[in-house]
Symmetry: C2
Amino acid sequence: MIRRFVFGQPIETGAVVQDIPVCAGEPEYMTVTETEEAIILSRTMAEDDIVYGLGEQVRGINKRGFSYISNASDDPVHTEEKHSLYGAHNFMILAGDSNFGLFVDDPGKVVFDAGETQIDTLTITAGKNCVIYFIDGDDLKEIVHQFRGLIGRSYIAPKWAFGYQQSRWGYECEDDVRRVVRGHHDNGIPLEAVYMDIDYMEDFKDFTIDGDKFPDFPAFVEEMKQQHVHLVPIIDAGVKIEKDYPVYEEGVRNDYFCKDEEGNDFVAAVWPGRVHFPDVLNSEARKWFGNKYQWLIDQGIDGFWNDMNEPAIFYSDKRLKEAMDEIISMKGMNLDIHSFFHLKDIVRELSNSAEDYASFYHDMDGVRVRHADVHNLYGYNMTKAAGEAFDRIAPDRRILMFSRSSYIGMHRYGGIWTGDNNAWWSQLLLSIQQMPALNMCGILYTGSDIGGFGGDTTEDLLLRWLEFGIFTPLMRNHAAIGTREQEVYQFTHLDNFRNIIRIRYGLLPYIYSEYMKAALKDEMYFRPLAFDYPQDKQAAGVEDQLLVGESLMIAPVYKQNAKGRYVYLPEDMLMVRMSAMDNRSCEVMEKGHYYIEIALNELVFFVRKNHVLPLARLGDSVLTTADLEESSYEWLGYVTDQAEYELYTDDGISKDYIPEEQWKIYSFTAEDFADNFSLQNID
Amino acid sequence: MIRRFVFGQPIETGAVVQDIPVCAGEPEYMTVTETEEAIILSRTMAEDDIVYGLGEQVRGINKRGFSYISNASDDPVHTEEKHSLYGAHNFMILAGDSNFGLFVDDPGKVVFDAGETQIDTLTITAGKNCVIYFIDGDDLKEIVHQFRGLIGRSYIAPKWAFGYQQSRWGYECEDDVRRVVRGHHDNGIPLEAVYMDIDYMEDFKDFTIDGDKFPDFPAFVEEMKQQHVHLVPIIDAGVKIEKDYPVYEEGVRNDYFCKDEEGNDFVAAVWPGRVHFPDVLNSEARKWFGNKYQWLIDQGIDGFWNDMNEPAIFYSDKRLKEAMDEIISMKGMNLDIHSFFHLKDIVRELSNSAEDYASFYHDMDGVRVRHADVHNLYGYNMTKAAGEAFDRIAPDRRILMFSRSSYIGMHRYGGIWTGDNNAWWSQLLLSIQQMPALNMCGILYTGSDIGGFGGDTTEDLLLRWLEFGIFTPLMRNHAAIGTREQEVYQFTHLDNFRNIIRIRYGLLPYIYSEYMKAALKDEMYFRPLAFDYPQDKQAAGVEDQLLVGESLMIAPVYKQNAKGRYVYLPEDMLMVRMSAMDNRSCEVMEKGHYYIEIALNELVFFVRKNHVLPLARLGDSVLTTADLEESSYEWLGYVTDQAEYELYTDDGISKDYIPEEQWKIYSFTAEDFADNFSLQNID
């Protein structure tokens, strides 16, 4: 049961696709206080209550004990004190004696104080114009299922985008990309896509390609395609101010850019220096900007990532001038603690300033809206621009799309990556903990920058991260310019990397099926243990294990120098230990606590009782999903009674989801798996 | 067995107090390569080899997989990628099939690459002039014991400094301090000392007191002393350049300050703006600066903390001018990625720049030495200045002293705190992991800023941190200006805080005895499990439990929302669970792995088999160590056979350590502890 409460005159965000009648009266779960500026919801939390959700945020699966602020932020340092990351995902669940879900549909700033200020009190502060949905349900999965129905079907990526992908800010030219492909394929390591970061453009201008670096781009795309390697260019939010640059000229001519206080095109700066922002909240401008992607699609491109769309602002023209004047006035002074820290603040506060976000405007189809009031919709609508355009340009096939900034609703148009993380072990754990929270909010196609974006990774961190990353739908190794080169072939023990990445391909029939279930049936691909074992108090506290699809539980190693880890099994399970597709052992383990040794080059996962999973048979020469043989599978199973598995297959690219053709149910009995938990050759 | 290898013409650091003959030939454990600039030691590490030591650094107890650079750095963000913190502690142990210790006595930059660059290779790069000591030993404790003998006896703090202490950058005046004392004592919470951060001085001038804030300082010190509360003022490295300020004038007149390239007093800036640095590497200047502490001692002060002595530099005069000119030249430009990032770098790189450290000089008793070559000796010698002065000013009694920056050798003159950490759960774990590494290097009087210095703490984090902090010799809650007020009485569940802090006082007879054992017998107060259970492979991997003194093992909870944790018992132990001194339960547990529930307000620790510990009997009114009744003890023990305990008592202040008077051996049998593991009233 979903109840909808409306406060003030909310802006239509498009987050929700169902028409829910407005509820009169008070929501039963929380006390509502309306002030001049805000709607404040609050309630006491019992000691064991858990807060789930909130999507892309720091800290654990249980969000209690901190405040989270929905305020899309370009912040590359994801330490524990950060209240906001790139996305704004205002859905949470309070789980305790009674459970309920809550979605605040407010595109401005929303604060979820989950016991930071007062340890026992949950307080949510939204703008005075907002819609709040309360979702009843005893079952946590059912609450999410209802919410996901409310917000509409999640984006589905093409199948190739479930392969292993390599990225780096700093692949400058054709030869850099060729070297990366060879580095993988010549070493027998699968690689499906290479990303083109901002380096490929002419002076960081969207929808341009630097002809010195890529002299014949369509030919190069084709050359890669011959090797089944996809090129995925980045698209930035800001459009460079440059005379005769067509995107700029068209935008100016047609009033497609956001306006400043005076009605002029708002000037901010990002990579190219001064830019304008396309007003993607305006339907005409959105259509125009979306159509620009066609220029790359026509050259053979079939995937994109949208970046800097919080939107990130290095500085605004106006504030840079003020800052410069103030700095100049400090010349020759004895700068002490106050004035020197002020100098540093002047420079630091130039970027992503709330003042700037309050100083420009959208034309929401006739209504002038201050950006700050709809800040969290920008990345969403940039991605919606692309998604709507793809439906026009290529209505029959899927194009890869994911974004840095997002708001619930965007999940229908693309996935996200979790932004500029760091090569820290703690960020691997954070990534594990973010996945189920994102899934609750409908964001299924997602993953973190494997190995870490900022800073120098290490061989052990990268390998452990890959051992988790083989389960994330987006499995991409990505790093920043200036950091250690972290393509897997750069390291000492290459075999380990090849073996682990090949396991991803072996698991693809399962991963892809489970992804499609989650997308087409409004379910979660990654789940906290409590979602499937609601009566188990121990499971409720587990912060570093996840259920993946219907059959698996994972317990990644995320600590440096760890030779193993503690694992809690909420029921009897089959432990599968692999160091390669053809090097595997299985052991039945009873419900309970274990310390399990897991060598650096080993993957351990757990098959739930009376569950099975299909494995692809991998030839030695599997380098991309195109090489996968999927006419028959090996099945891995822990079946004491019987099991069923619904397998999804399709052509990997078309948008027709036809249940009777694409789903096939396989049934198994205990005897099928008598031989080492494995069943060969079922077609 | 200690062997000493000398390369080039090393600078005498004073780290070592024993005269070890120089070894000819090559050290057996590592390959040595001498280049024009460096001494490079390297060797292959086996898969299970562990690197211990290196003192104050990030990451785990096992330092493998990262590079650590000894280069004293004022860096308040202790994330995993930081190669240098405030101290330089060049002692490490490689533990594997054979164990050895290694100390690089080089006051310049030393790099320990413990498998970051190549996962299986340890590489140490020191300057071309250095002394390297290799220490043999099968037993890890024995290696440390030898090393500690080499570097001399660790500093011993007065007993009151083992009580609970409160600090905050931002206690401005007498009334602020009074409020803090009342906030604790009126609520029955012990409090022993209040710290005076930079706020107390006149314009951040060392050895001044702002008369507006403290109109009669000696009277105020006395007022506090009546309540047995000590005031601990901060002393900064930089001396403000200000005409008629006596410390400045004397320093200039006598050439006591560090010089620039041209022989003028070097101008850097810190809190007060422009300062000079006392040349504490010069014995005359050191004596002069040390004598300055007397002015505060004469007013009743008996404890200090030395800060900003890496030395931290906000900017140098010269580079600020250059930076300003460069910024001004950028005015009006279209700042793109390159130029805008450059602008940010200009400001960021003003502080703590290697270029500045290379641009000033010490007069080491006649020899002009570039600061960069002896950078890591500065904080050490500032603290040595104080320590040597204390021996002159107050030869018979202990004065509290700890420092931010340090080098091995300084441990004889004071402790350290672990600097400007953050209110992050991960920093609590870091603190746990740093303790044994610091102990190896002789630094015993140490602890972290409980609750976290930067950022807003939360009630649960502070409480869990205190539950670990009650075992650290320095137990101090400290926070930065601008953060949430984090005195324990600011939070909802005050009882929890009172109960936990009172347990510290109950444990003091044990903590103090064990501290004195570690100091007087060259032992470690905190030890990794592997040091006491060398044959136990499982113990070798434990990164979040410590042995504390001879009788205890701790396993702190350091994860938000955790209701318990996994614990490994390397032998049968007695689990003691307390939520208050008078609310305790005990349970014998066999060697093995456990998941143990530990509520937020509970302390759990483990008594080793055939070990005991003394507990103080606490009246309700214990507010400081002065209130402790120590004529008899309650004993807690897990004795299946027999146990002995060597208890240390003294007057807490004098410097005479007379074994026959201060040590007393107590012997116990199994029957003594038949009644609930407790034995009452043994005097």
